[in-house]
Amino acid sequence: MDSINVDVGHLKKGEISMGTSIMAVTFKDGVILGADSRTTSGSYVANRVTDKLTELQDNIWCCRSGSAADTQAVADIVRYQLDLFKTMNGRSPSTRLSASIFQEICYNNKDSLTAGIICAGYDKGKGGQVFTVPLGGSMHQHEYAISGSGSVFIYGYCKENYKPDMTKQETIDFMKTSLSQAIRWDGSSGGVIRMVLLTADGVERLIFYPEEYNEELKD
């Protein structure tokens, strides 16, 4: 034992992780965030109804993947920074700013954090926006984004089926199908599908149970 190896890419022993399927999709009226609800500790499902969609501001939310502890800590700090911004400037922070703070924190702490974030928000000027902040701490804007261990199974499906300016119902159906397939093929994704709709009308939360989204369970 000459030195202690710091293995950045892996979780600490016994840590709760979110092998996840998360996505966010812009549409005609705004943006929708979606996620499965499984949290695992090794092979044990620590929580089957987790809420991986976290509120940062009324109109800005994020999907978390990676280590539960790390992403919660980061989300707490970003929320603090955004609240401070709002208090000091008297106006709401933009989605891009929120994503930038995520990006900066994830980049600066990349040796000690395991966090993959999708940050999405709605504002009157820009409409719905989606940003991803993957493991290394970069930031990318997309029309839609998928992330987490379950996302690898639905890259093709999403590429083929995403259309810009979908209606609300089309987007919900698109996400429901995508996430149900991600859940179906990924062992560490599961549970219910949660969605958060951000539009000019405010926030709307949806939940879909396995009986509803899973074809095999349908009558």
Binding site: M1, G14, E15, I16, V49, S67, Q72
Partner: protein, 271 residues
């Protein structure tokens, strides 16, 4: 350095890795703890076995800790860590509520605990179920050693959590009554007691209800009462004959003399 001391880390590593010594094992609460919300309150429960490796270290330990009068927490993991961390947060929450002149909130306790545990990267091995009532209503959270938290209507933690969650998943329903919730938690803990080696002995329970004082039920259930011995092995007095007897004065008792305080003789100190 104040705080944790790492002074002996290298020595201990050497003793364990090269010199072949076995490190002492921490007493762990290989545990079953559960929490469950009901209509306007929340209840948590725990078993009472503490283990050191394969040995039962304490048959009736307390795993329910008070964080504030109406916020309680059940701890699994390293016994010392759960105990100390809740004590520290208890003090902090008290200071916080005195400073703000408000009743402490469950979310504050949860946030303090998660931030503290996050700092120690899971090395402080405390897995907690935090529950309580505050002016915003009843709350139930679980916290993992690395600092992640979950919300839920019912939850279980510890080595017996698998047995307990099975019971909770079977019997839990929305809007339980207080008695139903208590019964459900007790059944879940008993599943842990009987099916998990790390859990055993009795069921402790704490009920927190809106507008009422928290109620701690120590030994709410005692499913493992020791059987009374069938025979008494005590010898009756006089069984052994006294052959000879002699009494000695070992110490001679002298009456104490009082010396008035400030007497000069007694205070003579060499300069």
């Amino acid at each position: 350095m104040p705080g944790l001391s790492f002074e002996n880390f290298q020595r201990n590593e050497y003793l364990v890795n090269q010199a072949g010594f076995k490190p002492p094992r921490a007493t762990s609460t290989g545990t079953t703890i559960v929490g469950c919300r009901f209509k306007d309150g929340v209840v948590i429960a725990a078993d009472t076995r503490a283990t050191t490796g394969p040995i039962v270290a304490d048959k009736n330990c307390e795993k329910l800790h008070r964080i504030s009068p109406k916020i309680w927490c059940a701890g699994a993991g390293t016994a010392a860590d759960t105990e100390m961390v809740t004590q520290l947060i208890q003090s902090n929450l008290e200071l916080h509520s005195m400073s703000l002149n408000r009743e402490p909130r469950v979310v504050s306790a949860m946030q303090m605990l998660k931030q503290h545990l996050f700092k120690y990267q899971g090395q402080v091995g405390a897995y907690l179920i935090v529950a309580g009532v505050d002016p915003t209503g009843p709350h139930l959270f679980s916290i993992q050693a690395h600092g992640s938290t979950d919300i839920g209507y019912y939850m279980s933690l510890g080595s017996g959590s698998l047995a307990a969650i099975a019971v909770l998943e079977r019997d839990w329903k929305q809007d339980l009554s207080k008695d139903e919730a208590m019964k459900l938690c007790a059944t879940a803990i008993q599943a842990g007691i009987f099916n998990d080696l790390g859990s055993g002995s009795n069921v402790d329970m704490c009920v927190m209800e809106m507008g009422k004082d928290a109620q701690l039920y120590r030994s709410f259930m005692t499913p493992n009462v020791r059987e009374k011995k069938q025979r008494n092995y005590k010898f009756a007095r006089g069984t052994t004959a006294v052959l000879r007897q002699s009494v000695f004065d070992i110490v001679e008792v002298v009456k104490e003399e009082e010396i008035p305080v400030g007497s000069s003789d007694a205070m003579d100190v060499d300069h």
